[in-house]
Subunit: 387 residues, 2 copies
């Protein structure tokens, strides 16, 4: 295999070195395409170009490895590569989640393989396991912690009783959170990954925007104290669950009991729990972000291309496909200061607390109704799922 | 696919029911072969026979699922099935580990597939991940807790400061340990699994007897207290590690720090940690024994046969194969009463303790020398690996 690689960040550089070491992966890097050709590089200048066509139009290159940030630019590269009969490896979750149907069609039409294990939970081989090991229709649920930055922030907040703002600042200083952390802290990054995994787990194609998502930005010290008093951790949980013929899928900050395995998933780690009829739950755990974990997933994809591997999307080829559904009841903790929701916004309120530092209600709501609820926008109001 | 199943224990019964529920797995049970045909069964009598040839000589049956205890009887069944061109699914670790080379040859010669995910850590899809996801030569180590019964016993001993004898009794009463627990508590069961996994991880074929193994039967309350004081858990750790061109592989009771992920693996759970160059460690966790976890692995194998899956044993087809090696230094804790080893049995003794309840030395030994060391047989002497 001859590889053309877009991007020469740490993943690209690591790939170069590890491919030199491996005897089993028969892949050679033909060229890197980079933005700034004038910047000094650690490798021979002849390996670099800033002209994408030098890779895309090069017939010697069989595989394009796309490692750039910009999802739209990545999509254009990937599309052209596939239309030119090249296989593609990508770790771009936004690009995959937003263009899934087109990417499926491009694979079919051009008879090429697109692999993207690095897009979901980096080093955890979750897509491959859903494709191969859980290839039957017996899977009942998939849930986990899909975003390392927010998990780092939440772990610190709980363990050190620190405020969201301070921990975010620390995470940014350590390089665990982007300078614009919106995608992470609003749950959007986790939602992209959930979107991709829902297709591999259940054959459900959905627009990421359709998945009900709440972020972690409104969590305050009152919420943290509530968690500590009740032996909870707060985790940003992405979840897809089969309910009859429907899929219930959300990304929500959630109280999980300290003894649970998801609560044990700390700092920048990711975890996935899979459940299927006839099997106990299965837990996968590893670093969910970072250059080495992502590089390792990309490498495994390249290696798999070496023996003609492609995703078969077995669940999607079934006739009894599932639809996304919102008409579910859910238990929530709603914390507020002065202004509160109406009781009629709840199916039932089962606990009410008021005190000098804040107030909360615990009760059952309809997700359908909550999705467009105005009361979610009340200042100083925060929602955390329970159980 | 038409299945012939040997054994109608809980796994066989569960398989029957789950195959009824699944639309995606196109497999039908043709017949069960059981020992006692007179025993009343929950299904139609016509589904049962006590004549193995009714399955093995039946041309309608494409797949034999072997779920019996007796490893030698299982091997005869599996061999004949494969020689008759049938694919085989088995969960019999002893049979696989002891007959690996013959089974490889039978697969090659008859062009059939033999799958045995259920033989190692039940519901954890470890073999499939080693075959497919970690299919390159970059894996550096594999370690974990491969035996649920001993892990249950060790968890109880540490958490409840209970004696080995009492906890073993409790485990037997609960059905977590066999009435003859030797295979489990002497580390032999874990060794079979390690033996199988060494082949899939590194392409190393080895006789299970060659792997240096110590059991947990000699652990006493002195050892438990030592663990507690030092924030350790004791775990029976199976490990295979690449060291240059060699593989270092052992099954040993080991002190692991309470904060480590293997220490968090409690009770009957199993865990595997994989490490490879260029990747952070990857952790897989799930129930390692029991009918449902095993059944789920067997089911996934059956499902994989539906699309022609077979192990490719990619690591074994490499030229630079690894050899097992014993000439390694290891750090051990040796606890004793009156009689102790000679200091010359150690490379170096770094700590010595003596007290009213027992004595211990901590130091470095040569595995090579320890393998045949007479001092291991001293009564009231126990060895636990450190780090």
């Amino acid at each position: 295999m001859k590889l053309g690689i877009f991007g020469f960040g740490v993943v690209g550089q690591g790939l170069y070195h590890v491919l030199q070491q491996s005897n089993s992966i028969q892949a050679e890097i033909e060229k890197f395409c980079i933005k700034d050709i004038t910047k000094p590089r650690s490798l021979d200048k002849a390996l670099f170009t800033d002209d994408k066509n030098e890779l895309l139009h090069n017939d010697k290159i069989d595989v394009i490895v796309e490692l750039i940030d910009d999802a739209e630019a990545a999509f254009e590269i990937v599309k052209e590569a596939m239309n030119r009969g090249k296989h593609v490896v990508s770790a771009n979750k936004k690009m995959i989640a937003e263009h899934l149907e087109e990417l499926l069609e491009l694979q079919r039409k051009n008879k090429v393989s697109l692999l993207y294990e690095g897009s979901c939970c980096a080093s955890i081989p979750i897509i491959r396991n859903l494709e191969e090991y859980y290839d039957n229709d017996l899977m009942t649920s998939l849930e986990g912690i899909f975003n390392g930055s927010t998990n780092f922030i939440l772990t610190k907040m709980i363990n050190e009783s620190a405020s969201y703002e301070n921990v975010l600042k620390e995470a940014q200083d350590l390089g665990f959170a982007e300078s614009d952390p919106t995608l992470d802290v609003e749950g959007i990054d986790a939602r992209y990954k959930l979107c991709i995994l829902l297709y591999h787990a259940f054959g459900l194609i959905t627009n990421p925007d359709e998945l009900f998502t709440l972020g972690i930005t409104k969590i305050n010290t009152f919420d943290i104290e509530f968690a500590q008093k009740n032996n909870y951790e707060i985790k940003l949980i992405a979840r897809g669950k089969k309910v009859g013929d429907f899929i219930d899928a959300t990304v929500l900050p959630t109280f999980v009991h300290q003894s649970s395995i998801l609560a044990q998933t700390k700092n920048e780690y990711n975890a996935v729990i899979l459940e299927s009829a006839f099997s106990e739950s299965q837990f996968l755990y590893g670093k969910g972000a970072g250059d080495k974990p992502t590089g390792s997933a990309v490498l495994s994809d390249i290696s798999a291309l070496g023996y003609g591997y492609r995703y078969e999307y077995k669940k999607a080829s079934r006739t009894n496909n599932f639809a996304l559904h919102e008409d579910f009841e859910m238990k929530v903790y709603v914390r507020f200061k002065d202004q509160h929701p109406n009781e009629s916004d709840f199916i039932e309120v089962v606990e009410k607390y008021s005190g000098p530092d804040g107030n909360y209600w615990i009760g059952y709501v309809s997700r359908q109704k909550m999705k467009d609820a105005k009361w979610l926008e009340i200042p100083d109001l925060n929602v955390i799922a329970l159980g």
